[in-house]
């Protein structure tokens, strides 16, 4: 086995050991779902960035900036850090005060008395997490299939086995700590690899200036797109990032685990500092890469640099970094999907009187079931950069449907259960229609499905809420969120 294999396998073993170690302090469902609500700021930052950065970034986005220039893609991370800061400084405190375990818990508590809200929010979590998981796992397949010569089935099996074991064992604590280690690995990987691209260009700043003359589109706001397509691209990816930050279960759930509201706020500030360093360094310099080499597949740009341009030691850390990025996103989604199965379905509908031991067992079993479902679904797809990006957009369109109910439920006293039901269902149906319409050509390709989903869901929410009356229970929950935690 070569150095690339040794370092990657070594990192996988490290994650397994950390997950198994975390199992020692995972004794009940509060530990398993929300890490006993004791997570410090630096771990929240690590897990948030690690969850946000997946194989989509190293494979899909690096491939896309190679082809189209960097600005139409870097733009989305401005929306990510801005939305995260708003979440950390102004919104997270209200969510944390509700002492939630899962995102469907929010809808169940804030919009009481309607079964449809619970069922719908649980279905969205399961559905979107599975789709996103398949896209994420496809990304890491690129690494294992191309580099180690494994079959797609075998690489899927290895990835899912590692993630399943440490998520089953360590629960949220296992996910958060391994995420932070993975963040450190892929952050270092990007920082180490990029100087070799600069060197191949002819050095900084002269080489970059020459590349800019050669590839003028690479640093224009619309990249290689036409001006109108560039505009819609900016709008779509920025909106997708806002929806992702405010409404995706894997990121929103980090407000539940924070040890305090202040720790959550600090985590978001740290994220706003560290995230741009990573993303700018990676995508900016890879957009110059066509000035060095043009005859490689865009999705293989990062792995090609790691394996042929950088020295083997640095290249092997870079390859382990791609695997880390993919695994960190996958583990968070596993955790959320499994929580939806065990808490929102088993505990709520099948066996509400189950004891703590049984609930913990079912939570761990749910992780395994999600892994099997993901393995079956993932074995059916072929890898393309566009496929990975569409997987991300598809999942974010689902979250767009519930984003207005979530935010208006926190800040608007008149938010009602009836408004949430109508908003979520119409938002989801319209987003889904435009996703399918874009694929099969019956709706304009330039219309972003998540924009349609958010607009319809917001409009319907307002219309229904103003014509409806809030119940005493709804007001009670609203006031509970506004009251500080008794210390």
């Amino acid at each position: 086995m070569n150095l690339f294999g040794i370092v990657t396998i070594g990192s996988l073993v490290l994650y397994l050991l950390v997950g198994l170690y975390c199992a020692k302090s995972t004794n009940n469902t509060e530990d398993f779902y929300v890490m006993g609500r004791s997570c410090p700021a630096y771990l929240i930052t690590g897990t948030l960035i690690a969850t946000n950065i997946g194989s989509v970034t190293f494979i899909g986005y690096v491939g896309s900036v190679y082809t189209n220039g960097s600005l139409p893609y870097i733009t989305m991370f401005g929306a990510t850090v801005t939305s995260s800061l708003i979440l950390g400084l102004f919104v997270g405190r209200y969510i944390r005060r509700m002492h939630l375990f899962t995102v469907p818990d929010f809808f169940t508590m804030r919009y009481p008395g309607n079964e449809a809200v619970k069922v719908f929010s649980t279905a969205i979590v399961l559905f979107t997490m599975l789709i996103y998981l398949v896209a994420v796992c496809q990304g890491v397949n690129v690494v294992l299939c191309d580099i180690f010569g494994l079959s797609q089935m075998m690489s899927q099996f290895i990835i899912l086995s590692v993630v399943t074991i440490f998520t089953m064992a360590g629960g949220m604590k296992g996910v958060v700590i391994t995420d932070t280690i993975m963040f450190a690995i892929f952050f270092i990987a990007a920082m180490l690899v990029v100087p070799y691209i600069i060197q191949a260009l002819g050095g900084w700043p002269e080489g970059v200036a020459r590349a800019a003359e050669k590839l003028p589109y690479a640093m224009e706001w619309n990249g290689a797109f036409s001006k109108s397509k560039g505009f819609w691209q900016h709008l779509e990816v920025n909106l997708a990032s806002v929806v992702l930050a405010f409404a995706s279960p894997q990121l929103l759930s980090r407000a539940f685990i924070a040890k305090s509201e202040k720790a959550f706020g600090q985590a978001m500030i740290l994220q706003a500092i560290l995230f741009p360093i990573f993303i700018f360094t990676l995508l900016y310099f890879f957009s110059w890469f066509p000035a060095v080499k043009t005859d490689i597949a865009p999705t293989s740009a990062f792995t090609w640099v790691a394996m042929t341009v950088a020295p083997p030691v640095i290249g092997s850390i870079a390859i382990a970094g791609i695997a880390a990025a993919a695994l960190s996103s996958a583990s968070s989604m596993f955790q959320q999907a499994a929580a939806a199965l065990s808490r929102d379905i088993y505990e709520r509908y099948i066996n509400p009187s189950a004891d703590e031991r049984r609930k913990l067992f079912i939570s761990r079993l749910s992780v395994l079931l999600i892994a099997i479902a993901c393995f079956i679904a993932g074995s059916m797809q072929k890898i393309t950069a566009l496929g990975l990006v569409y997987g991300f957009l598809f999942a974010s369109a689902g979250w767009a449907a519930w984003a207005p109910s979530l935010l208006l439920g926190i800040f608007w006293k008149r938010a009602t259960t009836k408004a949430a039901v109508w908003s979520m269902s119409t938002g989801f149906i319209s987003a889904l229609t435009f996703i399918l319409g874009r694929t099969w050509g019956f709706t304009p390709a330039w219309v972003p499905p998540n924009l349609v989903g958010v607009t319809v869901a917001t409009a319907v929410f307002f219309l229904v809420a103003v014509s409806d009356r809030t119940t005493e229970r709804e007001l009670e929950v609203y006031n509970l969120m506004r009251a500080p935690d008794p210390d």
Binding site: G78, E220, W221, E261, I269, A272, F280
Partner: protein
């Protein structure tokens, strides 16, 4: 408990913003598009740390519950 987190994060974010302008924008022949992008991605941390610091000064984080 108050600490210097807000001030430290403000200093780091300003320093990073300046460095980003030097590294990513200065070598380019046409700088406007990239300069705007650097502002869009790096400036939120500067603004966020100012807001955090003001909240700290006005005791807006006092409602925090610190779990054992």
């Amino acid at each position: 408990m108050k600490n210097a987190f807000g001030k430290m994060s403000f200093l780091c974010s300003v320093l990073l913003f300046v460095l980003a302008m030097i590294v990513f924008v200065s070598p380019l022949p046409h700088k406007t598009d990239m300069a705007l992008m650097v502002v869009w991605v790096f400036a939120p941390a500067v603004v966020g740390s100012i807001v955090y610091n003001r909240m700290e000064k006005k005791d807006r984080w006092d409602q925090t519950k610190n779990l054992p």
